[in-house]
Amino acid sequence: MPQITLTNVTKRWKGFYGVDDLSMVIDDNAFVTLLGPSGCGKTTTLRMIAGLETPTSGRITIGDEVMFDSAAGIDVPPNRRHVGFLFQNYALWPNMTVYQNIAFGLENDKTYTKEMIKARVDEVADIVKIGSFLKRYPSELSGGQQQRVAIARTLAPKPAVLFMDEPLSNLDAKLRLEMRSELQRLHIDTGATFVYVTHDQMEAMTLATRICLMDNGVLQQYDAPLGVYHHPVNLFSADFVGNPAINFCNATGTQQGREVSLKMLGDKAMQFTPSDEVQIAKWYLTQATADATTAETSATRKALKGYVEKENKESNFKYRVARSGELGGTPQEFSDSENDFVIGVRPEFVEIRDTGAFEAEIYSSMPTGMETTVKLQIGEFLITGVIFGPAIYTIGQRVRFDIDGDGIMLFSRKNGRLIATGSLRAA
């Protein structure tokens, strides 16, 4: 029933755009995570939907009710949006017991009798297993227990939409894993729409039905988790999602027929075969047309009176190429040439085998038992790979490896966007 629609929502403080022209649809019963680095506007977005923050302009609807519309002057206060909100620091009322905390919102609802309130409190307390703490005060509970109380309090009035602002970030690693699966179960049990803010990409990947990836107030990609993982629209998306992070390598080359001949990792000659046919020259043309339209509309927008120059300008994402001896890799600039590319290789596509096409030295090796994360040094470059199974490598050992699979990504180094995915082999 409640589908949430955001249309051109913008929030700015003077020249700083917290959220810039965001439009998205959150389907009923979805579990959407707002994901992005800190300060990207995800919490602001959530608070605007809940009504705790007033957008500068735009329109928000929940179900078929307009909650906010700057043009029509509508701003439904948060208390009448019938939503639940789970705060990062729980915001439990320290002066009330657990029971009072949960019951407080219900007491306010005239349709609830005293008995019904008690029944409902017991019910939600059971769901999150805090039945034995009802008489305690928040300060007498552990972090995990407080978290459960906060969930129970939010669930008690049966909201159809539930907003959560980094609800697990205050918990220790083990508890976080546990609560993660409980949240998933809760989503199924309650049938509510969940909107969930996190900066932890693992949380987003594992919980969400769709991920809304944001950076610097701008929506980057809105897609199912595996869609974002396998088909990131740009270098930022590719880099932000995935742990260990994706490997980027600069490459230059030209397309001949379907294949793209590339020189990369020093001057290794490689051949990239896109899974779906793509003509790079034509692709650039389409991109140029789209960019022109964007430029035109943003020019119209800027020409309007009352437009405030955006201080936090979008700058090109500086992807990094890992090099030995350099912590975190070297930030790379975009290039002007259409013959410059960036190859993205997820660590699981690196296979160590004796017949491998590349020769490398083990730079570091971190086995966890289930898999081993290795860094391979090839020339001055480092490639991260994840090898499944209990493999043991010694540092300095010489190995050969291949880049396997058809999930290799080819990005344009001119605009940072994904051109195609495909497979890579030595020429």
Binding site: I74, F87, Y222, T294, R301, Y307
Partner: protein
């Protein structure tokens, strides 16, 4: 109706911005989304059942649906009017003709406006005028600035040094000393001035009766020591050193010891650690001490009055008899100093350096060792010093009430205890005898008891009003942190804090006279309320800012009404700061003289009755009143301490 029209204008302005922006939506559409997989839906028509009416009206309704917004508007208007109206009335008074005073005589006008008062005050055209200029304007100004500056210095050095000893060394009797050091601040400001006089005056040097030292030991202190600048700033400095002790001590106590340890590890010399790290850390405390002490000393009347020092306040009172207009100029001058302080306060607190002093892991630095003898010796010196500023005044006042005549210490010099008398306390008849000018003894004197009741009534009512308004201001400002209007309201409410008491008193005197409420409790209560709102608004704002917004938001989202959120969540959590918001004004009003003395006849409240009995020569009566006041304050303070954890010494630190 200004409230509604104000909001309307504001919303109309905003509407302009919105409608322009909204016309852009249609064009911009989804273009910025070219990268993602969603398509922005077209703007759907407004669904049935959504609110109708003009957007402006809706926006106004939305704005006022948040109680803090409406409340802020009302409070803002009330605070602005009650703060600014009296200030303007002083300004107007300086150019008004006062029948029967100098301006009327010289200009020949009986009513209307003239700039005579301004030109005459600064007129230096003849020798006589030159003398008048010095006497009425220049000397009081210089004296006031000197006295205030030296009081600051004294308070900071004495209080700061003591704070250092208590927090950073292994001094003995810390607990006792810390409690007793606050005493002078709790007692009425003039206590130490009167005690100083009773101790050092002598008929040979200062005229009048002999003080204790002169009468008993025949010690005659030099004149500069007995009255004038020196004792004035020492007394004020002692009074406010408690304040600087609390502020600086709090920082010393909370300062993360790691900050200093980090420097020590880097092998920094001790003096360098102090001057480059410790001193900068306590700078904010020093600044707020300076601001408060300077403006309070400047506005103090009783201290320079008792110690016979010509300052703006004492000069004001002397001149107000037949130079009312020129006296008002002195009040304006004090106001200007107050505004300078306010600006300075703004400048010092809005810097980019943030002095967060919340403790890290290391609990406390190693205490500085004063040495086996040192820790006892220094402690003993302070025990003796604080005895003179705490218990001795009470003893001295008590003693004065048993002396047959002021300065008659014959019971010490040979008369024995028979020379003492209880007549000042228990005389209930025979009014013509005993040199009591027709007054009954203190215990039977209805004037005194009425004055006490009056003082209590004024203190309680001002505290109730100031506490409520201040708490609400703090709440509303904390809720509207980024709004300019909220900042303005906050500053308006804070302005009286740095305004010299006497200037505020003058403002309300002129304001009250023109409103026809002079010499009513109403005027006293209004003045008290305005002057003390800052106590409550500061305490409340500071603690509201500590309270995460989410605590209230989590209730809003569950549709819990505002009054219920306040009563069940905010008030219970903020209990102690709210109580101190009520108690600080109460305790301060209980011993306030300067603010009230121009606003009512002398017998209305007990503090102004002191002047009344002093003028009559009934010094024993004033001593008895002082004694009773101090004891009352101590009892109240103890009760408050017992009932809550909000006490005067904790609260005044509230920046």
């Amino acid at each position: 109706m200004p409230a509604a029209s104000c909001a309307l204008i504001a919303s109309r302005k905003r509407r302009g911005k919105f409608s322009r922006a909204s016309s852009a939506f249609v064009n911009v559409g989804k273009v910025s989304m070219s990268l993602d997989t969603t398509v922005a839906p077209p703007l759907a028509p407004l669904p049935v059942g959504s609110p109708t009416g003009s957007p402006v009206l809706r926006r106004v309704t939305t704005y006022f649906s948040k109680p803090q917004n409406g409340l802020l508007l009302v409070l803002g208007i009330v605070v602005t009017i009650t703060t600014l109206a009296p200030l303007f009335s002083i300004l107007i008074d300086t150019i008004t003709v006062h029948p029967g005073s100098v301006d009327s005589e010289r200009t020949g006008l009986m009513s209307g406006y003239t700039i005579f008062n301004w030109s005459d005050l600064v007129d230096r055209s003849s020798f006589v005028k030159e003398r008048l200029f010095a006497q009425n304007f220049w000397n009081p100004t210089v004296n006031t600035v000197l006295m205030s500056a030296l009081s600051c210095l004294f308070a900071i050095v004495y209080g700061g040094f003591f704070a250092y000893l208590v927090t950073r060394t292994n001094l003995k009797f810390k607990k006792y000393l810390s409690a007793i050091f606050i005493f002078p601040y709790m007692m009425p400001q003039w206590t130490l001035a009167v005690v100083w006089q009773n101790l050092f005056k002598s008929s040979a040097v200062t005229g009048g009766s002999d003080g204790l030292l002169a009468a008993v030991f025949d010690v005659h202190a030099p004149a500069w020591f007995c009255q004038g600048l020196f004792p004035s700033f020492v007394v004020l400095g002692l009074h406010y050193s408690a304040f600087s002790y609390i502020l600086i001590g709090a920082i010393f106590r909370n300062m993360d010891a790691n900050l200093e340890e980090a420097a020590v590890i880097l092998n920094t010399a001790k003096w360098k650690v102090f001057s480059r790290i410790t001193l900068p850390m306590i700078t904010p405390a020093i600044m707020s001490t300076i601001l408060l002490v300077f403006s309070s000393s400047m506005g103090s009347y009783p201290v320079p009055h008792y110690l016979k020092f010509s300052t703006l306040t004492t000069r004001y009172v002397e001149m107000s008899v037949n130079r009312q207009g020129q006296a008002s100029i002195l009040a304006v001058e004090m106001m200007v100093f107050g505004i300078i302080m306010l600006v300075a306060n703004q400048l010092t607190t809005s810097g980019r350096k943030s002095y967060t002093t919340v403790t890290g892991k290391s609990g406390q630095t190693q205490e500085v060792n004063l040495g086996a003898i040192g820790k006892w010796l220094i402690a003993s010196v302070f025990v003796v010093l604080t005895l003179f500023t705490s218990l001795y005044p009470m003893f001295s006042f008590a003693l004065e009430t048993f002396l047959p005549n002021p300065g008659d210490y014959s019971f010490l010099t040979g008369g024995g205890f028979e020379s003492l008398t209880t007549k000042w306390w228990i005389t209930s008849e025979n009014l013509s005898e005993n040199g009591m000018y027709g007054q009954l003894g203190v215990l039977y004197n209805s004037t005194i008891w009425k004055g006490f009741a009056g003082q209590f009534w004024v203190a309680a009512m001002s505290a109730l009003a100031a506490g409520t308004i201040g708490t609400l201001v703090g709440y509303c400002v904390a809720k509207n942190r980024r709004s300019r209007w909220a900042n303005f309201v906050n500053n308006m409410a804070f302005l009286p804090y740095l305004m010299p008491s006497l200037a505020v008193g003058v403002a309300f005197f002129i304001f009250g006279s023109s409103m026809g409420i002079f010499n009513t409790f109403l005027l006293l209560i209004i003045a008290g309320t305005i002057k003390y709102i800052p106590f409550a608004s500061r305490a409340s704002l500071n603690s509201m800012l500590q309270l995460s917004n989410e605590i209230e938001e989590s209730a809003i989202i569950q549709d819990i009404p505002w009054w219920k959120r306040m009563l069940r969540i905010i008030v219970p959590i903020q209990k102690s700061s709210i109580i101190s918001g009520y108690m600080l004004p109460f305790m301060t009003a209980l011993r306030e003289m300067t603010l009230f003395m121009l606003l009512c006849s002398q017998t209305k409240i007990i503090t102004t009755e002191l002047n009344y009995f002093d003028e009559m020569g009934l010094y024993a009566f004033s001593s008895a009143i002082n004694l009773m006041l101090i004891i009352t304050i101590l009892i109240c303070n103890a009760v408050v301490n017992k009932l809550t954890d909000a006490s005067l010494d904790k609260g005044i630190g509230g920046n």
